[in-house]
Symmetry: D2
Subunit: 463 residues, 4 copies
Amino acid sequence: MSEVQEKSPLWGGRFRKQLHPDAKKFSSSIASDKRLAEDDIDGSIAHVTMLGECGVVPKSESDQIVNALKQIKEEIISGKLILSDQSEDVHLAIEEILTERVSAVGGKLHTARSRNDQVALDQRLFLRKAIKGLQSSVEGLQLSLTTKAEENEGTIIPGYTHMRRAQPILLAHHLLAYVSMFGRDGERLSDCYKRVDLSPLGAAAFAGTSFAINRKSVASQLGFSDIVYNSVDAVSDRDYLIEIASVCSILMMHLSRMAEELILWSTVEFGFVEMDDSISTGSSIMPQKKNPDIAELVRGKTGRVYGSLMNLLTIMKGLPLAYNRDMQCDKEPMFEVIDTTADCLTMMKLVVENISFNTERLKQTLQDGYLTATEVADYLVRKGETFREAHRITGELVGHCAGNEIHFSALDLVKLQSFSERFTEDVFDILDPERSILLKASEGSSSHESVEAQLTYWKNKLQ
Amino acid sequence: MSEVQEKSPLWGGRFRKQLHPDAKKFSSSIASDKRLAEDDIDGSIAHVTMLGECGVVPKSESDQIVNALKQIKEEIISGKLILSDQSEDVHLAIEEILTERVSAVGGKLHTARSRNDQVALDQRLFLRKAIKGLQSSVEGLQLSLTTKAEENEGTIIPGYTHMRRAQPILLAHHLLAYVSMFGRDGERLSDCYKRVDLSPLGAAAFAGTSFAINRKSVASQLGFSDIVYNSVDAVSDRDYLIEIASVCSILMMHLSRMAEELILWSTVEFGFVEMDDSISTGSSIMPQKKNPDIAELVRGKTGRVYGSLMNLLTIMKGLPLAYNRDMQCDKEPMFEVIDTTADCLTMMKLVVENISFNTERLKQTLQDGYLTATEVADYLVRKGETFREAHRITGELVGHCAGNEIHFSALDLVKLQSFSERFTEDVFDILDPERSILLKASEGSSSHESVEAQLTYWKNKLQ
Amino acid sequence: MSEVQEKSPLWGGRFRKQLHPDAKKFSSSIASDKRLAEDDIDGSIAHVTMLGECGVVPKSESDQIVNALKQIKEEIISGKLILSDQSEDVHLAIEEILTERVSAVGGKLHTARSRNDQVALDQRLFLRKAIKGLQSSVEGLQLSLTTKAEENEGTIIPGYTHMRRAQPILLAHHLLAYVSMFGRDGERLSDCYKRVDLSPLGAAAFAGTSFAINRKSVASQLGFSDIVYNSVDAVSDRDYLIEIASVCSILMMHLSRMAEELILWSTVEFGFVEMDDSISTGSSIMPQKKNPDIAELVRGKTGRVYGSLMNLLTIMKGLPLAYNRDMQCDKEPMFEVIDTTADCLTMMKLVVENISFNTERLKQTLQDGYLTATEVADYLVRKGETFREAHRITGELVGHCAGNEIHFSALDLVKLQSFSERFTEDVFDILDPERSILLKASEGSSSHESVEAQLTYWKNKLQ
Amino acid sequence: MSEVQEKSPLWGGRFRKQLHPDAKKFSSSIASDKRLAEDDIDGSIAHVTMLGECGVVPKSESDQIVNALKQIKEEIISGKLILSDQSEDVHLAIEEILTERVSAVGGKLHTARSRNDQVALDQRLFLRKAIKGLQSSVEGLQLSLTTKAEENEGTIIPGYTHMRRAQPILLAHHLLAYVSMFGRDGERLSDCYKRVDLSPLGAAAFAGTSFAINRKSVASQLGFSDIVYNSVDAVSDRDYLIEIASVCSILMMHLSRMAEELILWSTVEFGFVEMDDSISTGSSIMPQKKNPDIAELVRGKTGRVYGSLMNLLTIMKGLPLAYNRDMQCDKEPMFEVIDTTADCLTMMKLVVENISFNTERLKQTLQDGYLTATEVADYLVRKGETFREAHRITGELVGHCAGNEIHFSALDLVKLQSFSERFTEDVFDILDPERSILLKASEGSSSHESVEAQLTYWKNKLQ
């Protein structure tokens, strides 16, 4: 994008030579921005309709242009018309086609407009749809997770910290942690949308225009909530791109954590999860392999979104106002951020729908690792022990069991009382992982009650 | 941060050796997290108060702990008490002091709590204040810019695209573009604040607790709007850090653009701006130098915030739930993001308050560069010319003037009409940069009316 | 890339379902890696030739495969054969075509090889050529700069620090600073090449193979200096990609500095440089504009290379050995780094060749700004003054001139001696920027002698 | 760093106001650069010694300065002298102390020097030592790994791809893959060292100096291999910082992979590795926990080095020559890169020295997962089967075993021959993981012979 055109007639006495062909190719953006063709046409239709309404262009001519643009858009959608890579950018490509069709009248389309505000408009139109799409994909993934949580409501897994078994929790509670994380991603997408949903058109090159145009009419036709008021800001700003790249970076980070966890859980060593053949691949060299490629690719693609964020931040660093040609380099990272994130959301939904939990294996893991040690200490505190003392006692108990290679389940009351006289019959509710879950009392904890509340909340929200 | 303590008594039979002294030093976070001491104490006071209310700890004991903690906080603020770098982290350092003062009772403070939820709480308490501070600094800078805009309301500057003079605009309009940019930063800070302003306490290690605690009471005491519901999410999440780092990266990008522009404008070549001695430095080797160091440092420090964002994103990539020790590495980038951004905002406010515009020089630059050429083309369009033809004619006019090294102001009507008969006497309103400003008609343009509207808007908003 | 193939026959009893079509599309890499087709075939030819030599495959069959592969390569080069996007990756696409042509014998190509070592080989073959290409482009740019320096050998410019005029220097010396910078880039490319120039083939999946292959024969056929010895390392390593991305990031940083400077220098405010029309563009809306788009785009594209570096570093962070599917995501950043850097080098060469220096304007700028103040202070030191005192005196002298708005050239000896009696007639050699250059005495300084030495050095080196 | 000093006397008529106190604080770098004090003094001693030799300063005076500087250095080392945070930077701090001690003569130290070349010198002196230190730490880690490999020479582990068991390999071979990786890091450090090991001193502000100094004498005194020739380049360049940050980023990536692997291997699920108590920590809340904190912190600290690299790249993007104050912001990332990498290398060495392998568990894992399936297919190829057919047969064999939940070891020859008549008695060498290792024939493979060769190579190299 730039305020450029290499056809000499437009520049009269100023230029005596054509742009060098290599430079022309280097500066062309049509290869990437042609994807904005429909948005560009939608913007042009709204613009010229307004010009007609305001009398800047005769109504009959604006109608003629609108009709031609609609026709061009249809032809592009149907594949009948393909934009040439010879044009400098999508804006000129379409204007050239228009002018071929309606001759001189086509030249009126660009009245009171510059490519500076035009490209910002196209990006915002594109991003509005993209954000809506991402929101829908996020909700789709949340729904799959919620469904999977509900289906496995009674299942208990060992929760981990430091990649070490720590305490028993409900699988559903764990899955709902991801639903919460993606809930924040949804909020951030909404917040970002507010700042995308503003029309920059009418800012022209950056100073506004002396034509008596109606910026709000254009905004309203295109469904924008308002205009970007200050005209210099309207063309200099790329916050909306960086913000969506940031939001998607955090989202991808969440997906990378979930991918890592599913890869781990589906190893033969963990054995918690079985991935369906439809999301697994084998090896052409090792016949026994079944690989979690989809999850691995999601984890790997995180780098692409992080990198695009850094790309955009670098482009904009230290650029004086208003428009600089550097800003043309924003298309590739924009598309990469949106496409990568959208694909990965869809893929993780597919993964979630095609995993099953190995409940036998999970049951068995709960016996190892003294997962209820924390509950034992808390039990002693409730019985009147100080926290530190309770801790010391439980530590000794674990040491005793580990030394003798026995589980907590092998302890009887007499043995327990040899560590503390405070132990009574009710300690066995604590020692057993499944029963200990029932004792969780705090809001938002891994209790059945809390999980029920979360399931209800999310099912309502996501409907 | 971690669930760690190297004093053997706490772990009983499990550990037979002390942590290696180098490993102990390597894993200690006290050097950076001691800055959270006051937040940590505030959180502990709320926690133990709630424990007392709920009967988890006898009221008399919770009162005793609260009083001791208040005392410790006061001593830290007054500098009477300095936390030793020997402790593993700020949480243990304070608990150790507490226990010295109230003996065994101190051990009850950590009931129904883990360092996992505690550190998340401390960070959120810190960030709430930090965000409020940043918002206030942003508004301060906006106000300085608005004031500067108002003081220079009549001043016209050449607006730039591609670092080339493009069209005349009101200086105030240009400065208000920055006010708009920082306005978005303020919105993003508010949006981020919503997600910071939630209490994670009570999530304990990650599964919640079997003590009948009241999470919302703690949240309410500390002024949080709600709790982070899901306990696994509450301790695994660092979105709030990454989001603030993203918001500050965009903010710093804005500051870097403004810094670049002020450095440019204050060169002898541009000569638009004079920086006061109070924000300039000289050279110990070149006696004639006057350097814009403050603006340069702001531009340079952009890298620090970008780098911290990348640091945080990298840390969290691919980490399975719930807490992992990697997350301890989040303190340094958190403080760097906040401190750097806060300092740079303060400094840019100082810079804005200490620049003056060289109106003579600005007036003179408006004559060069045929800045009103766009207006001439638009004039011809209004007179009935098609856009393309109007453009061609203006191009030839510019070519003629450039070839003869004359300004537009040297043209008389006869000469103008030799290019197009549509030129009449009113064209001189267009040719003159100062008068052409008066013709800007679009909303948000560089017209006096638009600038008035913006000044009114921002002055109301920022009061 | 992965060890994957979705055709069920290969996996027999292990898989009961096909890969989901969306997952298949998501995991396909053919769209990006088909660019490696020729390298892939070169590698396969070397591999199967060796298999024939070693008797792993009968010589007649290896000959048959080699001939078919050569034919396929020719057809791809000539455009007769186009790889389908239906294949999973370039390796399978070519193997499939081969098998169609030579039937069952084609299946022997993959003996003692995995796609893990194959893709690493392809990348290394690609990068060897890419690095050679970059080195040549770097040298091309250095030569253009050297030529430009030589052509402008007598020209003096104001050197800058803090974007403020500081001291007079020879333009050639300034341009040669860039030649030095690019010289280091060349060295880094060479250093990186050493580590790229090793053959991983024969590592198979990661453990090596029980076939009695000759890895060094393959390496030798392909012109590699050696093999990557450890087979696990051979397929797990992507250092060569990250290293080239780092090297190119520094290179792009250099180009961004040069671009920034040329944009500045070609503003009307600086006026040092004129850019030829062939590297400039106009504005479709502002007829008087002449924009430095090529330099701006180079500056902007810096972000792409930085972002790709971050992409690669993120992908590899925390990946356990050996191959993981995440590593397939390395193709896009690899191509982006190479293509962007190569294009920008070519473009900057074009820019350098199409700029001319405005010597009149440069001459004039030397009179402003008391550029020789440092020399005056040094002069006084040589006359016996202490450094501090010399500085103070010169400061007063500058203050006097600035207050009276006169240049140094307006001072006579009497006036000078009123500041210090040490001034004698020879001070005028110092005060005059052109003559002061002649006094530079240190190695590598901006003296004619030093510039001559540099020109000689680089012209010899670059021939 | 900058050419700045706020004491008004130095600037005479130019400045009328002091720098604003907040701006002074903001622009001070003493808090970070005071760490360069010894390097700064070493550089000054060499500089003034040369000034004495060249007659720029009388020998008696240069001796006086040298002696005072030596004294100051000793006092700093011994802790007797502490640099005040009131000075602007380390250079002025030391010069101020010097001047207090030797009065006016001290003012001669800065003759023919600027802080621009001085700070570059200090950084290069610091980095030379830092690189040597890193190289030594890298070698230390390599040696620990080599020793660990040797101690476990006979141990076989399941090698992984896609985090799935793939083929049996020698543990030593796996560990030696890391030794190879770190070997490349060592090479890169050496390559980088070449470009650090050049003296910039004598470039002065950027133009060189008219004093007849001897740059090579300074270089030689300080042990540099040569000078940075071009004076503009000498002060504008920060490649050496970015290059070391890149090298350390790759190094940290390697460490993060090793950390991830050790964390995985030491889970109860994998159970391959036992971490000694001296490198593990427990939990204050969960008495049964033993956490791999050191490895986790290393993995997390990767972000810091990546972030610092991005910081430096951002700072330098688009900066025109020569020195700009932005470059002062390079100290923090420089120290962070060096300190973090050095610490993590030391810690990983400690970890390697304090792990032991659970050979029983490893032996048992080899029976699962049909790890020798690839060897079976290769066996059939050697017996005359085509590759594809061999693969199909092996796939069916795995399917049969998996369906019946038996290991390969449960198969007898009759059963095997029902899949292919090519199976004969020698297939049992292939089916058994331990014996199959013996068949690896390719260079650099996981054979005993290859491992022996590697051990010999590295032990020689690292001695």
